[in-house]
Amino acid sequence: MLRDITIGQYFPGQSPIHKMDPRMKIIATLLYIVMLFVASHPLSLIVGIAMLVLMYRVSGIPMKMITKSLKPVVPIIIFTSVLNIFFVSGDPLFQFGFIEITRQGLMLAILMSVRILCLIAGSSLLTYTTSPIELTDAIEILLNPLKKVKVPVHELSMMMTIALRFIPTLIEETDKIMNAQKARGADMESGGLMQRAKALVPILVPLFVSSFRRADELAMAMECRCYRGGDGRTRMKQLHYSHRDWIALCIMLVSIAAVLLLNRILA
């Protein structure tokens, strides 16, 4: 039952977006988020939506994945929209008793919801098209300057890699422990919230114990393979920026400029 969980949401593919350097993909995603927040008029967000549709088309990720990624944020969007619609003061558009809807409120509600939608869908594309390992590599390199201020960048990325590596192993183990406890008569499916939470204890305890043992063994295996931290370490896979990445960067910068221009015109 736990086996169906997929780690990350990576869709392997051969599109130009898949082939982009993961570092540039992260930069481009950040620029996209900047663009969404620079847009101050609902109409200038059209650029954001257009970019989104274009990127999904190019990447070959099915459009229905957008709706899938947006599901969890729907409550937030509804909440912010309601707040904006009813509580922003300005020129009244519609009045019903004490309820007043203003033009500014409506605009802000649209602006905020479209912004959040684009934000989530856009950043999901990063995880859809980049494998977790590429992502950790890219984060390690991008954060490299922070080493100067004693941030343990290599250690953090090693931790991420190991975490990713052990997710499937631990899922399998949880599954085994659950079955073992069920075979001993543990009841995990009935009862109230408290009772169910209590039923998790006999699963979590062995899981923790075995994780510590695994960690110990892994540390020894890493030592045997001459691991001594990030100093003097090389990487087999070197990342290279290609012309594709520079084009992507240009597109992002041009669209930010376009949004700024639209803001001016519409203001």
Binding site: A221, C224, R225, R228, G232, R233, M236
Partner: protein
């Protein structure tokens, strides 16, 4: 044969905190492993075999005595990584020694730690994968492989570092028979065709029977140290320290005890079958002879 690993009078004990009586694992132990040897170390749980193995690449250091690897003292901190590069180690659970999320990345891990050039890493990784026969899985996630394949990934990760010796601590204990077979074949191949010294710690007597030399340990001391044939002829002694002999040897031993003449130095199933056939033919011939004699009367 040159001594590659040489232990002289080493003692080791696990010191527990605030425990006045540390657990002595072995005391004043002498041990050598020659260059290019294929050695099996046998012993039941707690006999000190794994602890000894961890001394071979300076994971543990002896309390007393000296252990040298290719002339380098394991106490010498400057040589630590040279020793670990020369003596690789493979553990029991393949899941707990694979670091990366992609097979080839994991094989590259040791080389990356050593600071080898990227192009050279690529070459050695491909070679290592080739030599253990898992090239086709190089871009797979390790958790999708079978136990035997995972263990071979772990071995590939070690041989990519070009060690002169590999210590395997019960590498087949968690595998199914097929995986065990795959791993054993890889180990034998590495020894015979690449000249890598192998120290195999195992519980399976059939695996030990395939080695050149078998060392039996019991409560921290070397009990027997000889060729498999010689070692496994001491059936009684092995049983007394909680060990078995290969099934083929056991059959011959039991038959011998029951009064049939069988050689006791049989190790493989093949040889055992041959000997059994000879025995049957002999008995049959003897019976016929007896029948003939009886008929004449």
């Amino acid at each position: 044969m040159n001594d590659f690993i040489e232990a002289r009078g080493i003692s080791f004990s696990y010191a527990m905190e605030d425990d006045p009586n540390p657990i002595r694992v072995f005391e004043n132990l002498d041990f050598t492993i020659g260059q290019g040897e294929l050695v099996a170390i046998l012993g039941h749980n707690g006999s000190g075999k794994s602890t000894l193995a961890k001394h071979f690449n300076a994971i543990l250091l002896p309390d007393e005595g000296q252990l040298t690897v290719d002339g380098m003292d394991t106490q010498d901190n400057d040589k630590l990584y040279d020793i670990r590069q020369e003596v690789g180690m493979v553990f029991q659970n393949p899941d707990n020694q694979i670091v990366a999320t992609v097979v080839e990345e994991d094989v590259a891990f040791g080389l990356e730690n050593m600071g080898v050039e990227p192009s050279e890493i690529r070459r050695r990784v491909d070679q290592a994968l080739e030599s253990v026969g898992i090239s086709e899985y190089k871009t797979h996630a390790p958790h999708r492989l079978s136990g035997g394949q995972k263990q071979r990934v772990a071995i590939a990760g070690i041989i990519a570092m070009r060690p002169r010796c590999i210590v395997l601590d019960e590498p087949t204990a968690m595998l199914d028979p097929q995986g065990r077979c795959e791993v054993m074949r890889t180990i034998l191949d590495l020894n015979r065709n690449y000249g890598i010294t192998i120290v195999l710690i195992t519980h399976y007597m059939d695996e030990a029977a395939q080695c050149d030399r078998v060392v039996v340990m019991d409560s921290g001391a070397v009990l027997l140290d000889s060729t498999p044939k010689e070692v496994f002829s001491h059936v009684k002694m092995l049983k007394s320290v909680g060990l078995d002999v290969p099934q083929a040897t056991e059959i011959c031993y039991e038959l011998n005890k029951a009064g049939y003449t069988m050689p006791t130095e049989v190790l493989s199933v093949r040889d055992c079958a041959d000997e059994l056939q000879k025995l049957i033919e002999r008995t049959y011939a003897a019976k016929r002879k007896a029948a003939k004699l009886g008929g004449k009367k």
